[in-house]
Subunit: 425 residues, 2 copies
């Protein structure tokens, strides 16, 4: 029997271990392979001979359940882009120079030596570039080693997929945060403005998810600004003034990536210095906080939804976790059937409409990696309102199913009982 290999790459999410768990469950059930190796720190684990035998670490359903609900990457990660096979660059690995060809040989020597039939890479746009390059190399060199991607990114910006694993949990965390912020900000008589900055440098999906916080008693966030529409500080201030006429405590959601007409991040023009004269960068939220204070003379605070939006394992979407597992399983069977250079995808059966009663049904398949690697899917302009300061009902219909359901997380001593962090072996 042959073996499998898997690795995780890029930035963390709360669901990336669920995809690893999804592959593990099929590996155990299927009994068609002998071992499953997990590379540490993504593909770079091959360069440093760092890997684990996952089949030895996870044997029972309980162990895999715990892995599935643990945020971030159990195997560690990397931000490493393989050089193009035609590149003449020299690559330094552990102090030794390698040609591009040697780097690819190093990787495939590892696969051959360990009798790897399929390699799975869980990641986003950049990681899919690795899947593309490795699968091309294998095909070109007549190596029957299947290279399959499994999607992952809180940014939800991969092409050819309805939504990405990790996004639903991030969206749920962001919406819950905005709801709780609305409870926090509504208690005083004094008028106030709260600006909530949400992740997303290029695509506004995460900021859009804040709209899900709105309910029968709260209109928070009162406006939403995405990077897909050029941002005007003057218009923003005018919007604040408009909302202040209707209510006392205003909450505005902004994407960290909002840019002006010329494409510059809106806080870029600032020249802040610490006491040693060093330039300090601040975010869009802080910048707008100062603008509101200065121009309107009103109590204003900015809140950065911090890195928990990507790793809040304590508040994940059950839909997201289950779909992430299923995408792992889909890649597992695609590779087994002989597919290579593909990524597993999830597609919505019914089109998204402005009705909130759309039935949410999905199907799983695979897509050629060429269409996905290095691509970016932004929020379509038609899902942003005309004024560019809110999302449309279609966006709400699209987002709503993704945050449904809660997982049953175990607690120990008052805190989530996660699978531990993999230390250096």
């Amino acid at each position: 029997m042959s073996n499998l290999c898997i690795a995780q790459s890029g930035g963390p999410t709360a669901a990336i271990n669920a995809s690893l768990a999804g592959v593990m469950r099929e590996f155990i059930k299927d009994d068609d392979y002998d071992k499953i190796y997990g590379l540490k720190y993504g593909i770079t684990g091959i360069f440093t001979h760092e890997y684990v035998e996952l089949d030895e670490l996870f044997k029972t359903d309980e162990e895999i359940d715990k892995l599935s609900l643990t945020p971030s990457m159990f195997l560690g990660s990397c931000r490493y882009k393989l050089p193009d096979i035609t590149s003449e660059a020299t690559i330094d690995i552990a102090g030794k120079p390698y040609t591009t060809k040697q780097v690819y040989e190093l990787i495939f020597d590892f696969f051959i030596e360990h009798d790897i039939k399929s390699f799975f890479y869980i990641g986003g746009n950049d990681s899919m570039d690795t899947v593309l390059k490795l699968s091309k190399y294998a095909t070109k060199n007549d190596l029957d080693i299947r290279i399959c991607g499994i999607p992952k990114t809180i940014d939800n910006d991969l092409p050819r997929i309805d939504h990405t694993p990790g996004f639903g949990s991030a969206a749920k965390y962001i919406a819950a945060s905005l709801l709780e912020i609305s409870h926090d900000t509504s208690i005083y008589r004094v008028p106030s403005v709260t600006i909530v900055e949400i992740m997303g440098r290029d695509a506004g999906w995460l900021a859009a998810a804040s709209a899900l916080a709105r309910n029968g008693y709260s209109s928070v966030p009162d406006r939403i600004y995405l990077p897909e529409v050029p941002f005007s500080v003057d218009d923003f201030i005018a919007d604040v003034e408009t909302v202040l006429k209707e209510k006392r405590n205003v909450v505005m959601a902004v994407s960290e990536g909002i840019r002006d007409n010329a494409g510059n991040y809106i806080s870029e023009g600032e020249s802040k210095h610490d006491k040693f004269g060093h330039v300090m960068l601040s975010g869009a939220g802080k910048f707008l906080e100062n603008q509101v204070k200065e121009r309107l003379g009103i109590k204003c605070r900015s809140v950065e939804v911090n890195i928990l939006q990507r790793v809040a394992g304590h508040l994940t979407s059950k839909t997201d976790i289950l779909e992430s597992e299923k995408l792992g399983a889909t890649s597992y069977y695609a590779a087994k059937e002989g597919q290579t250079g593909v990524m597993s995808v999830i597609r919505r059966v019914n089109p998204v409409t402005s009705s909130l009663d759309d039935e949410y049904l999905v199907e799983y398949s695979t897509e050629r990696i060429e269409y996905i690697a290095n691509g970016v899917r932004k929020v379509p302009r038609e899902w942003i309102n005309e004024a560019g300061n809110d999302v449309t009902p279609e966006m709400i219909s699209y987002l709503k199913p993704l945050i449904q359901g809660e997982v049953s997380l175990s607690f120990k001593d008052g805190l989530p009982d996660y699978q531990g962090i993999l230390k250096n072996c």
Copy 2:
């Protein structure tokens, strides 16, 4: 039959409605009073005639359960300090000038007019000042209206009480956040420093709670800095270097209130300006992030645990919620017995030791308000290690019981199903 009156004051917590719910449960069970009025926006609701009949709004156990698990103040809040009865100041209320005496009369006229037997004020140090002043006034003027405080503050800085309602939930949220941050920061090979800034201007209890994140696989936070010990940037940088020798990804927890030897907030010396030349304030975390980058040339990020640390109803401590209800009930019966000018307190039966096996038992009673109003309880120096960069085992023993247990929160459409925000009636 006579009536009751209650209000909430100060900053929000995730457990302040639990204390309101605690009073409501006894009110319904006891059937000794006719009505219970809730003042909106704290004591200032009397000035503006804004109040609700809580007995009409909450009748069933289910309704009160939902209220109990809703963060922030259902009744709204204020940051209003009553003038001293001897003050000669003139107070403006709704555009009309009032003498101090008239303000007190306004309040007690309301109580008399509504046949109020007892008034409960849920709040922190400043709110207990209101309890002190009103109870003194009632006693001096032979008015049999009992004025009782119910404690509340995430800061845990009230004197004469083992710990304050709201603190345990904030501590649990902070510890869970640090645990998840440890998963987030540990995935790359590249060395990194993460500085986590936690609330607490004067007392370091909340920052200390980050220590609870440590478990069998994670040492995060690697060091903890509280405002009770003068902070040295040089020592901090040296600590970062020390930890970097042991591990690749360092996480330091700092209280927002850390100050230098002269008592100045450590980011105070900065002079940052936006593009219009306006001074921008940043926090301790951002300041230290820049120091680390500059001095050590290492990847560094600061994370501000945002306002969710005080209102994260989605991750509260069951111990905290139940104790907060019980403190409401304790004040209810204290007032009924004729006590006035008191606050309900919780005390630990067994002393805190360095053993983690201490049995956690508490008892409830009341304490004279004179000992509590305007007081601040800081972290005792002996619960901070000698070097001033961590907490002791006694602190862990003290904190651990407070975050135990999870509540069963209902979800609706993927988000917590909270009691709505009280709009203007």
